[in-house]
Subunit: 494 residues, 2 copies
């Protein structure tokens, strides 16, 4: 007789009903052949007494086992473990799994060595450099959450709760068409826009549609790391051209075009990532002409369009593109907050249609409630008001950050005051290395972060990108103090 | 002299400031060489008078053009179109684009013929069959939106607004681990779970990591269409096995395993999509043993776990998997509403880690605010209360729908009352065809939808899947009435 009383344990604090706890344990015994086929199970009354549970629990459990096919009921004889069950071939018993939960995978699969993403654990009292992100504390969260709730309370909201189109919510697309035409000098209609979940999805969709294995894509010698990884993951070949004070050197692009078929050029023309320079008018025209002549796509990632401190933002390449060469990518992630996954991909209709199909495979649809929330947030002018507000604050932060950098650390670092964006491109005197600085900084509770990522082409420029927008003025002073202490300690070590 | 007065037009209703409207138009003239290099622009006072705008507008415009590099300023001489600008090579003028916005793509890209997604325009007064979706009107939207706003108002919410991990919000992962262990008989830890944006993302991630080109994946002769398309888009080879009243015929899977390497089996074991049958206990064990012996992955898509009307839901294969063969996929899309893009992928840690990396390429991160909202919604027991509520309603709808089908249309149709889920698998008498029924139904303001998708293997089973959960009782009666009128008209035609 199987020792039910000692083998079965109930967790009375669990959400799981007792009858299911019981049936699950009996299933394990059946699978392990501790209860082999044809074993008679005790009568419900007997088992109920043994286990100190209500008889109804046992009846429900046996019904469950019967329905799932683990046992069979033979009239006038009782309940038996099903006679036709094969034995389950297990590495080890299920109760061992409960202990460590470290089952290894029983099949092979593709492993990727391009992007090891391990989010660092953040320690209190430490400051972490970033490469130019917005200050979460300035997010107009209350307005957005209120709008979200207001939209959710609308009478006709139910039609937005089911499956929708992979192009994104129609209202947001309309609002963005008007907004982008007015602010970016575009001439698009709803057919030219796909709502994405941020710039990364736009880069990925473009990459998938453009780049076959071994296709050539041109990027800057310095470039936005996630874009590089996305293209490499696609098994494309990256060709790098120089970046100077006028942005990507288009003459080098022309030389490459003469040597081989070029599928695409990726760039951040407004403020080159990471060096912050703006592509000059002459090179803009040159690049557009090359794209037309050599039939390549320009993936224009306009990640920080809204942040220009000295003048109006410069219109994107997309606003000059009459030949259908530009895929224009943007999002509200930098402008509002990364948590709001609302972005867009702008391109000729036939490309947008394919991108929408592809999007359906990875992500059935967008979040219509959030999309409607942002449609309202943009249309009401709240987005523009928010931009005006933070632009003023970020300009003050840039000015403070740069003047402190110059005054306090001018002996160690060189940089240009950026005209826009949220970060400064900073060169360390060649006498020092970011490797040492990064090490010593930890002693001063400052984390420099992954400084290697700024020199993917290994050109030894000794520069990194440091964001200024996410710190308030007191924090900026503290950050500079820690960086100064670090650098002076590094100097002493020489 | 260039006719500025007649060529330049302002749209005073536009959001775009006048100086930007002006500079954009001048840029077009420069690009088209209507204003060739070295052309002198009028003085700001002169132009302001001609255009009836304030002089400041012209000054701002010229500054903009200067900063963007379109013009140069020569001291004491004035403002000139930059002498070094190349001519832009355009198909046609920008103002033509404004008219139709139908630029064609100036580069080649991958086109996909697998999944033509054209969302049908819905007409009022028409009823549309679905294949088993929830009723949006029952969504606990107010609770969810209120929770969303409450979470957004929390003091420490700011740390969730920036860039986060691709695994999904840590709190939701913990809550789901407890919830799934309790309800699904799993034994997982946080290391085994990745938050996705719904089941489709789970299917896609698995497909990408498992299926190289030409790899073999086994699916049912009838199968969930989106899964089929995802695997085909991955250029995998689909091998189909029969589906009977006990689900996938695992003996046929064994035969295939002996013939060739099998990379994965995809199934909806709880209620097979589309036929609604449950995989029997014997076949569950057989399939797990085959997976162990032949080292393949089982992609278990448990899309409607919560909807079982006669008994407790049957535990997934994942609850019996001690060998690390099962990738378990689920979401709240069916349980709450498709608009809430919250799903999960459960697998051994090493697989989850790779899936998280890959997810980073397509979609930088999840929506932490929505994830926190659902963590609270699940932990508070609201999700369970919601499930209990709708389960009762959907059971009534199933009963009504099936009894009307039987009573009113029993001469035309055959079906089994489904034990769970939101749909019935219905066979039309072979005397009739869904093609004709679909045609005639339109006259009765009923849209049958894409009935062909249920027979992707072309086995002529003459069945389709009809959802009952999204209609209330009055709508069900009306739907049956229209279907009845349709079928009698089809019969008359014979």
């Amino acid at each position: 007789m199987f020792p039910y009383k000692t083998s079965i344990q109930f967790d009375r604090k669990s959400n799981q009903p007792l009858y299911l706890q019981l049936s699950n344990q009996i299933i394990q015994f059946i699978k392990n052949q501790q209860l082999p086929p044809n074993t008679k199970l005790p009568g419900s009354r007997t088992l109920a007494e043994q286990l100190h549970v209500h008889r109804k629990t046992i009846v429900a459990c046996y019904e469950e086992l019967l329905l799932q096919g683990w046992v069979e009921s033979i009239p006038k004889k009782g309940t038996f473990v099903h006679r036709n069950l094969p034995e389950l071939d297990q590495q080890r018993l299920q109760d061992e799994i409960m202990v460590d939960s470290k089952i290894t995978t029983g099949f092979s699969f593709y492993k990727n060595d391009i992007l090891p993403q391990k989010p660092a654990e953040r320690k209190a009292d430490f400051m972490y450099l970033d490469d130019g992100i917005s200050d979460g504390r300035l997010t107009p969260l209350d307005e957005i959450a209120r709008t979200y709730r207001r939209i959710s309370a609308k009478k006709n909201v139910f039609k937005h709760l089911s499956y929708g189109t992979t192009f994104g919510n129609a209202t947001l697309r309309e609002v963005l068409v008007n907004y982008l035409n007015a602010t970016r000098g575009l001439y698009i209609t709803k057919d030219n826009i796909l709502i994405t979940r941020g710039s990364q999805m736009g880069i990925w969709l473009s990459s998938q549609l453009l780049l076959e294995k071994e296709a050539v894509i041109i990027v800057g010698a310095t470039n936005y790391g996630s874009a590089d990884s996305t293209f490499l993951n696609q098994q494309a070949r990256l060709k790098r051209v120089s970046v100077d004070e006028n942005g990507l050197v288009t003459d080098e692009i022309e030389t490459l075009c003469k040597q081989q078929p070029i599928k695409a050029v990726y760039l951040t023309s407004h403020h080159h990532h990471p060096t912050t320079v703006t592509l000059s008018a002459k090179r803009r025209i040159h690049l557009l002409n090359l794209a037309k002549r050599y039939n390549f796509a320009i993936i224009e990632d306009d990640y920080d369009y809204d942040f220009n401190y000295n003048q109006a933002p410069i219109l994107p390449l997309a606003s000059h593109d009459a030949n259908g060469n530009v895929i224009y990518i943007g999002s509200v992630c930098k402008t509002v907050a990364p948590v709001f996954r609302i972005g867009y991909l702008i391109a000729p209709k036939e490309f947008v249609d394919e991108a929408a199909k592809l999007r359906g495979f990875v992500d059935r649809q967008g979040d219509a409630l959030l999309e409607l929330t942002f449609a309202s947030f943009i249309k009401s002018g709240d987005l523009d008001r928010h931009i005006r507000k933070v632009l003023k604050i970020y300009k003050q932060r840039r000015d403070l950050f740069c003047s402190l950098l110059q005054d306090e650390l001018g002996d160690f670092l060189e940089f240009e005051v950026p005209k826009g964006g949220m970060a400064v491109w900073i060169q360390l005197n060649t006498a020092y290395s970011w490797s040492t600085v990064s090490e010593i900084a930890k002693k001063h509770q400052l984390v420099i972060g992954d400084w290697q990522r700024y020199d993917l082409a290994n050109s030894k420029h000794n520069c990194i990108r440091i964001g200024f927008a996410s710190y308030d003025e007191i924090e900026i002073q503290e950050l500079i103090r820690r960086l100064k202490n670090t650098l002076y300690e590094v100097k002493e070590m020489e």
